[in-house]
């Protein structure tokens, strides 16, 4: 029977080829993302493993969240050195440091971190940092990474301006460093400084970020660790085995990479889900075209079951071959991405790509699963072909009554919606998976109902065609709807992609409106200063030195700022964010203090979001316990409750003094300026710009510019996601092409007849083209409707001040793009349709 299936595959290789290509793309995406994230993960492994190679223990502030280091008081170094078994203790400092190139532009800053650290001769022995040329820095000097030096034309002896939290500092480059055999640390830009410079410039007066300990040879590390912990006698400082610390850091990296990977795999799964529609459709059409052949098999004694097995095995063969190719393409994709990243200045440590068994298993599993599952219904239908069909002329149609279909569709959609929203807004384990399955069921349900609308759609949206192109248009209209199920199945594949991008468009538009509204309603300040581009406020920001100098500009009445830092709820593991503010924030933004008083905010006290407080059942005077550092809970008294759209998602606001105690990042997330009454905002701007220009990593903007900048960032996110979902849309368009090609094949005689009675090739192409466009627009319209409704539901579901906005222009644009996509998908079928062999088409068998 495998032989029969194999022959079936060979006989339909062109038709199955397109189907296979859809699988190849989906699997390539999935396996490519696995291979790439594995590569990233191994690169980080190398980097971190190398960074602590010669170090046995690390002394640091316990529980620092994210990638920001804590502080260890200076005096601990002597205590450490006094402990028996300690061979070397190397204090290190690290923090924000961004170089400025020779044109005055900041180097890096959007993506990989820009940082600096103190360097010691011992580092070249004990860490991955490798000496390239020059010498170690003294005060006023720096070594920089080889990549940055080369890319920006810096040479030993040049001077470089570097932005630190304390201000901009000009340093002389005295050498370059590498990391293992790589020229930079996965794209990070690095400035290595003399220890005391590092302390001064990165806000570590009297403190270090950590102390690395090298033990005497043969020392028992566990004993040494206890001895050190005792010697240190500071509850905030912990002594950990370097290996444990390394494992923890790698775990954090792998968590981030894991999210990234899950996200990419989800995109790949969506593509395969769409491909499943295409495969199902293809098999259904092939089965109906092969009715006579299958009936003949039945007539000569094959059981219905055997016929099913033959068709399913065909799917299996296609799935295996396509998945294997897909995995190969995926590896190439990963190679390409790494090459691209290297071209963009992200240098990888040496070491090849690894194709793990897991990658192959997932790629093959997904590919074969989706192929076979989508062939099952057509295969079961194939088994119902009666032997007598072998003797009949026409293909046998199988169709359930539409009414039953609609009921089934509504039921599936309802279950899907319930799961979708439960997963979206519920907080239970596997919520994402439930959401995904819910979304899948919703789409399947809609696809089941869709044929019900095929004819009506064709009648309404196809109406202009006969008027525009006469009978050619009329035929295009009729052909599109003549098989409502086929049209609906083809269009549904496109519907999925369009629905997803529509949801995103609705969310993005609503987010933009909300931001605009919040800024208009709540910002009093004329100007704000913030890091350029996409900046993580917990790792970069505005230097307090700039804030101080801005306050001296005549005409500036108030300068205020806030910072952002990560925290955990007591005993929690999800990183949340809090803000820290100075005492004049209410002069630059308008926020509703609902109870208590902003003036009461002081060390040991916090303001909390009113809704959040209501959820927790707490109020002014109560205590909230959070962990600014993991495992180190701190109690804060609630001084006030507030409500602010600008601080949406930041439920806790602490004082700046507390922030400086718990967080080492000494940068403002945003600085805001309120001018004195009567000061012309435009007139004062050049004076402000002059100061801001000294810090090329930040920029000044007024309210309108700020709104535009934020909107631009939302759009960038939207565009990236839309581009990724483009894969699913591309596959759906391939589906249109495939269905169309198969339909044209079925209508060979009809086209031959039209050609015989005088239809030109051009007219044939036009007829097929508009059929494709109608199908594509049908898919797009269902997608827009489904996507908009889901988008609206999600916006209302999120609530929290989100203002629903329908991006009608964008959505209409999607419909136009779908039409263009349909046109492109029709190119090949219409070309081959127009070349239908006239004689073959009209000759009688």
């Amino acid at each position: 029977m495998l032989k029969m299936s194999w022959k079936g595959v060979l006989a339909h290789k062109v038709r199955l080829g397109l189907t296979g290509l859809a699988i190849v793309l989906g699997v390539a995406f999935i396996s490519g993302s696995f291979v790439f994230t594995d590569r990233m993960s191994s690169a980080f492994d190398d980097l971190f493993a190398g960074s602590t190679d010669g170090i046995d223990l690390v002394i640091q502030e316990g529980g620092s969240l994210g990638f920001t280091a804590g502080k260890v008081p200076e005096e601990i170094l002597d205590q450490v050195l006094a402990v028996e078994g300690v061979s070397q203790a190397i204090p290190t400092v690290q923090g924000f440091a961004q170089m400025i190139d020779k044109d005055g532009e900041p180097i890096g800053g959007s993506g990989p971190p820009t940082f600096g650290f103190s360097i010691d001769a011992a580092d070249f022995e004990t860490t991955m940092t490798s000496f390239v040329e020059g010498r170690l820095p003294e005060s006023g000097e720096a070594m920089i990474d080889v990549f940055t030096a080369r890319a920006n034309g810096f040479e030993v002896g040049d001077s470089v301006d570097v932005i630190f939290t304390t201000g901009v500092e000009t340093l002389e480059i005295v050498g370059t460093i590498g990391f293992g055999d790589a020229d930079n640390m996965l794209g990070a830009t690095v400035v290595a400084l003399d220890l005391s410079d590092a302390q001064r410039l990165m806000g570590y007066q009297g403190a270090y970020a950590s102390i690395s300990v090298v033990a005497d040879p043969g020392a028992d590390l566990d004993q040494l660790r206890s001895a050190l912990q005792q010697a240190v006698a500071d509850p905030d400082v912990e002594v950990v085995l370097a290996a444990d610390e390394l494992a923890e850091q790698l775990e954090q990296v792998d968590t981030v990479l894991g999210f990234f990977n899950t996200f990419l795999v989800a995109i790949g799964a969506i593509a395969l889900f769409v491909a499943a529609f295409l495969i199902s459709n293809t098999f259904r059409i092939i089965v109906s075209q092969r009715t006579r052949e299958l009936a003949l098999l039945r007539a000569v004694g094959a059981t219905g079951r055997q016929v099913t097995v033959i068709v399913v095995l065909e799917a299996f063969i296609v799935g295996v071959i396509a998945s294997a190719i897909g995995i190969g393409v995926g590896v190439l994709l990963a190679v390409g991405i790494q090459g691209g990243l290297e071209a963009f200045g992200i240098s990888f440590p040496s070491g090849g790509l690894v194709v793990k068994f897991r990658t192959v298993a997932f790629g093959m599993g997904f590919g074969v699963f989706f192929t076979m599952i989508s062939a099952i219904i057509p295969a079961v239908r194939a088994s119902r072909v009666p032997p007598v069909a072998a003797l009949r002329e026409t293909a046998v149609g199988f169709s359930k009554p539409l009414r039953k279909r609609v009921i089934a569709g509504v039921a599936i959609t309802s279950v899907g919606l319930v799961m979708l929203f439960a997963g979206l807004f519920g907080s239970f384990s596997k919520a994402l998976l439930v959401m995904g399955i819910g979304a899948g069921l919703t789409f399947i349900g809609v696809a089941v109902i869709a044929p019900f609308f095929s004819r009506g759609f064709g009648r309404i949206f196809g109406a202009p065609l006969p008027r525009m192109f006469g009978v050619t248009g009329r035929l295009a209209q009729e052909n599109a709807v003549r098989k409502p199920r086929r049209m609906a199945a083809t269009a549904s594949a496109l519907m999925i992609g369009v629905a997803l991008v529509s949801i995103l468009a609705v969310l993005a538009a609503s987010a933009k409106t909300t931001i605009k509204g919040a800024v208009e309603d709540e910002v009093i300040a004329e100007y704000q200063i913030e890091a350029r581009g996409f900046a993580d406020p917990t790792s970069t920001g505005v230097s307090p030195a700039l804030k101080a100098s801005l306050a001296t500009v005549p005409g500036v009445e108030f300068v205020s700022s806030y910072r952002v830092g990560p925290y955990l709820e007591e005993g929690g593991s999800t990183t949340l964010y809090l803000a820290a503010v100075d005492d004049v924030l209410d002069k630059v933004i308008r926020w509703d203090v609902l109870s208590g008083s902003y003036a009461d905010l002081a060390p040991g006290k916090v303001m909390v979001d009113a809704d959040w407080a209501a959820d927790k059942g707490i109020g002014v005077g109560d205590t909230v316990t959070i962990e600014p550092r993991e495992g180190h809970p701190v109690d804060f008294a609630v001084a006030a409750t507030f409500s602010s759209d600008l601080f949406q998602g930041v439920p806790i606001v602490m004082s700046l003094a507390d922030f400086e105690q718990y967080y080492s990042l000494g940068l403002e997330a945003m600085v805001m300026l309120k001018l004195a009454d009567g000061v012309d905002a435009e007139a004062i701007r050049p004076a402000l710009e002059t100061l801001v220009d000294e810090y090329p990593n930040v920029e000044l903007s007024n309210a309108a510019e700020y709104v535009a900048k934020t909107a631009g960032q939302v759009d960038t996110f939207l565009n990236i996601l839309t581009a990724l979902l483009g894969l699913a849309i591309f596959i759906a368009l391939m589906g249109i092409m495939n269905t169309l090609a198969l339909s044209i094949f079925e209508r060979k005689r009809e086209i031959g007849l039209l050609r015989a009675v005088g239809m030109t090739r051009r007219q044939v192409r036009r007829m097929i083209r508009w059929e494709a466009i109608l199908i594509a627009v049908f898919g797009a319209v269902i997608g827009l409707v489904v996507g908009s409704l889901l988008g609206i539901a999600i916006v209302y579901g999120i609530g929290s001040g989100l203002v629903l906005t329908m991006p009608l222009g964008t959505l209409a644009g999607y419909a136009v793009f779908a039409a263009i996509g349909g046109f492109l998908a029709s190119l090949w079928p219409s070309y081959s349709g127009a070349r239908t062999d006239l004689l073959e088409a009209i000759s009688f068998e």
């Binding site: 050619t472 007849l753 015989a756 009675v757 005088g758 009688f844």
Partner: protein, 246 residues
């Protein structure tokens, strides 16, 4: 005098059609010279493989001769591009095929006006009514092909072939799938078209009963024209075929 402009609707001159190459070469038409008179109903007969369908295809502009020339009126088909041939078929030629003559998604009226609609030409309402009446289709115009009998479908095809007033109508076994009653009806209608409208019709058939409706029968064998018979009857055709076969 050039007879082409006065009395010949279509002809071939030394027409050769070869399929395949080498050992598999088949000469479907072998230097055939044949002409069809304007305003008359001519039947082409011959055994299977005699080249009668090939002749029809080549002279109707559906296929190309390997060598020699085919003409419709004075137009040499070999001189035309693919597009010009299409336009020629649209303007000067009508077709009736053995089966699958109609577009299933269009009703009878739309099928009849299809060539005019494709060309974007106006339908001559009076002529349309005349043709429809002649073919006895008045009450069937809004039906789709699957709601029509085989005979009705072929009459719709005939009406379609006539409605654009082509110079010549080619029919390829038009009654091949019909029972004798429907065959009789269809051919009577075609006969009337020739008589009443002066329509030139060339029909390929292997059925002597059908050929008997024609003004003239042309007999083909092995790719050449071997005989002609004017004012045929079913009996005389049968006799002739017997003599050929014997």
């Amino acid at each position: 005098m050039d007879i082409g402009t006065t009395g010949v609707a279509a002809r071939t001159v030394e027409g050769v059609k070869v399929y395949g190459a080498g050992d598999l070469e088949v000469r479907a038409l072998d230097r055939i010279n044949v002409s069809f008179d304007a305003g008359r109903f001519t039947a082409i007969m011959g055994p299977s493989g005699s080249g009668k369908s090939t002749l029809l295809h080549c002279i109707a502009g559906l296929d190309e001769l390997t060598s020699g020339d085919a003409y419709i009126g004075e137009q040499r088909l070999g001189a035309l591009s693919e597009k010009q041939l299409t336009l020629l078929r649209r303007q000067k030629v009508g077709f009736i095929f053995q089966s699958f003559n109609l577009i299933p998604t269009l009703d009878a009226r739309e099928n009849i006006t299809l060539p005019l609609d494709i060309a974007g030409d106006d339908v001559d309402k009076e002529w349309f009514d005349t043709v429809v009446a002649t073919m006895g289709l008045g009450d069937r115009l809004t039906h789709r092909p699957n709601e029509l009998s085989g005979g009705q479908q072929q009459r719709v095809a005939a009406a379609r072939a006539l409605v654009s007033r082509p110079e010549i109508v080619f029919a390829d076994e038009p009654s091949g799938n019909l029972d004798s009653k429907a065959t009789d009806e269809l051919l009577s209608f075609m006969r009337r078209a020739a008589d009443e409208f002066g329509q030139t019709i060339v029909m390929v058939t292997h059925d002597p009963m059908a050929a008997a409706f024609a003004d003239k029968v042309v007999f083909l064998a092995d790719g050449i024209c071997i005989d002609e018979m004017a004012a045929p009857t079913a009996d005389s055709i049968l006799d002739h075929m017997k003599s050929m076969g014997g």
